[in-house]
């Protein structure tokens, strides 16, 4: 009889200890899960921040790209204008230089100075007040109005 009692008490004690260990393990698992959840939330927050930044970057890249395309278009127009000045209405530049040597010499020297200024501007030089305020054909740098005279609207 005593043996059975001891056996039952043993089982009961084992069950209590087992339940205790199990609860301890659950608590430990719970703590780990909570820590993981916190880390996960932090990671999600970081990712969301990154996505927002990427969206902002994308917008800025698109805007910069559009601006660059506009610039390329304007520069192309400057180049076409230069070509027109040489060949407008089947103009023969060589023949013109033969007929009006002095005048053409003055024109190309003036153009050469303007072109040198264009290189300065293209390299990052600041525009002068005169260049910024130029709105008439007589005031602009005819070699590169798109970069030298921001307020000039071709007419």
């Amino acid at each position: 009889m005593l043996g059975i009692r001891l056996f039952l008490i043993g089982i009961l004690a084992s069950a209590v200890v087992g339940a205790g260990v199990y609860v301890m393990k659950l608590r430990s698992d719970n703590a780990i899960l909570k820590a993981n959840a916190v880390k996960m939330e932090e990671a999600i927050s970081d990712q969301q921040e990154l996505i927002t930044q990427q969206k902002q970057d994308f917008k800025e890249i698109m805007a910069a790209n559009q601006k660059m395309n506009e610039l390329v278009g304007n520069l192309k127009k400057d180049l076409e204008d230069l070509d027109k000045r040489f060949n407008k209405n089947n103009r023969d530049f060589g023949k013109l230089a033969l007929e009006k040597t002095g005048a053409i010499e003055r024109i190309i020297n003036k153009g050469s100075v303007a072109a040198a200024r264009c290189i300065e501007i293209a390299s990052g030089a600041e525009l002068t007040e005169e260049e910024i305020n130029a709105t008439k054909k007589s005031e602009i740098n005819r070699e590169c109005p798109s970069i030298a005279n921001p307020n000039y609207v071709p007419y």
């Binding site: 530049f93 230089a97 040597t101 390299s123």
Partner: protein, 75 residues
Amino acid sequence: MRWIIITSENAEEVFKRLEEEGIDPVLFGLTDKDFQLIAKNFAQIRNQLKITNDLLDKYKEYYEPEVKDEKDGEE
């Protein structure tokens, strides 16, 4: 830099003028077609320079915004 136009008619006068100015009477010439070509090539180089420079500015603005902020702060 100075461009001088020489034709068969004014060549003598041009060289004489050079000598009077104490410049060696030697000129490195271009035909009218080559002059057009050099003018257009120069314009293309200038355009490319502008594009590259603007691109570089944009990258700088993106990767070194603090430099710009500091400059703004100083002003």
